[in-house]
């Protein structure tokens, strides 16, 4: 890994840290993306509008970055459509069952020393490792 790449990862990570800090400071909320997305699927309400705006902000941020650096969005995973569809289903189902994903448990939870979030993070990293090894075993190295 190049030094340049480490720098980008640290800066991007720090920006995420600033974003979740602003959410906490102004709105008093955890920035958990799976939770925000899942709750936004409920009946629309005035009190829940912030979730739609958060998602709109993410999509707009993606469009902004894609216009500057399309190379940041290249998917070289080699994963096929079938695998991606199954993966999406598992991510949606699992994050609602487990009350969070990488942002809510991984970033916000660990930062406040939540045992639940630490256990969740260890679990999804471990099973992510298993899944990657399974793909390597059955489909070969695609990266």
């Amino acid at each position: 890994m190049e030094l340049n790449s480490i720098f980008y990862s640290l800066i991007g990570g720090a920006l995420i840290g600033v974003a979740v800090t602003l959410m906490l400071l102004f709105n008093g909320r955890v920035t958990g993306i799976s939770g925000i997305l899942a709750s936004s699927l409920s009946k629309p309400s005035k009190e829940g509008l912030w979730r739609w705006l958060f998602i709109a902000g993410m999509i707009a941020g993606g469009i902004f970055m894609h216009s500057l650096r399309p190379d940041f969005f290249v998917n070289l995973s080699g994963r096929g459509l079938m695998l991606v569809a199954v993966a999406g289903l598992l991510v949606g189902y699992g994050t609602v069952m487990g009350s969070g994903c990488t942002s809510g448990h991984g970033v916000c939870g660990i930062s406040r020393f939540s045992v639940r979030s630490a256990m969740a993070t260890i679990t999804f990293m471990l099973f992510g490792f298993f899944a990657v090894q399974a793909v390597r075993y059955f489909l070969g190295d695609q990266i």
Binding site: S9, L10, G12, G13, L15, I16, G17, V20, T21, L22, M23, L24, F26, N27, G28, I33, L37, L41, K46, L53, M58, I59, A60, G61, G62, F64, M65, H66, F72, F73, N75, S77, L83, V84, G88, L89, L90, V91, G92, G94, V96, M97, G98, C101, S103, V107, C108, G109, S111, M119, A120, T123, F124, L126, F127, G128, F130, A131, V132, V135
Partner: protein, 146 residues
């Protein structure tokens, strides 16, 4: 409180925007980097540095912000307080982890990557939303303790 609600909405948009920029800059919108992190035989440590950056900032900012009695635009905090590690938490996280490893996407980078127009990303997000709705439908039959 009416004006505060619209200010909260504006903050949410800005936070989503910044979060997405952070994800793209950090490399997390490239699934091969996430998959590489989960593969010790050809390890890509990017995700480690993303977590170091994000947690490093929030580890410091969280206790500072929580010194206040309430957030700037609301009367109370909305922070999870549960401490119990349940079978539901672990099983859900395991299923999420499998999906994460299979595609190299978790919810944030997937939403951010919609901008690429890549059919795999659109399919992933659609399946993810379907999965979220499916959990709600099947939850009453699972007999999991909350």
């Amino acid at each position: 409180m009416k004006s505060n609600l619209s200010k909260q909405n504006a903050v949410s948009f800005v936070v989503g925007f910044l979060f997405a920029i952070g994800l793209a800059v950090s490399g997390m919108t490239q699934p091969q980097k996430v998959i590489g992190f989960l593969n010790p035989w050809d390890w890509d440590p990017s995700l480690l540095f993303v977590m170091l950056g994000a947690v490093g900032i929030h580890l410091i900012s969280y206790p500072l912000v929580k010194r206040r009695s309430s957030p700037l635009l609301d009367t109370k905090w909305h922070i999870p307080t549960r401490k119990d590690v349940t079978a539901r938490l672990i099983l859900g996280s395991a299923l999420f982890g499998i999906g994460w490893g299979l595609a190299g996407f978790c919810p944030g980078p997937a939403l951010t990557s919609l901008a690429s127009g890549d059919v795999r990303t659109v399919l992933f997000v659609g399946a993810m939303i379907f999965g979220m709705l499916l959990f709600r439908k099947t939850e009453p039959h699972l007999k999991l303790r909350d």
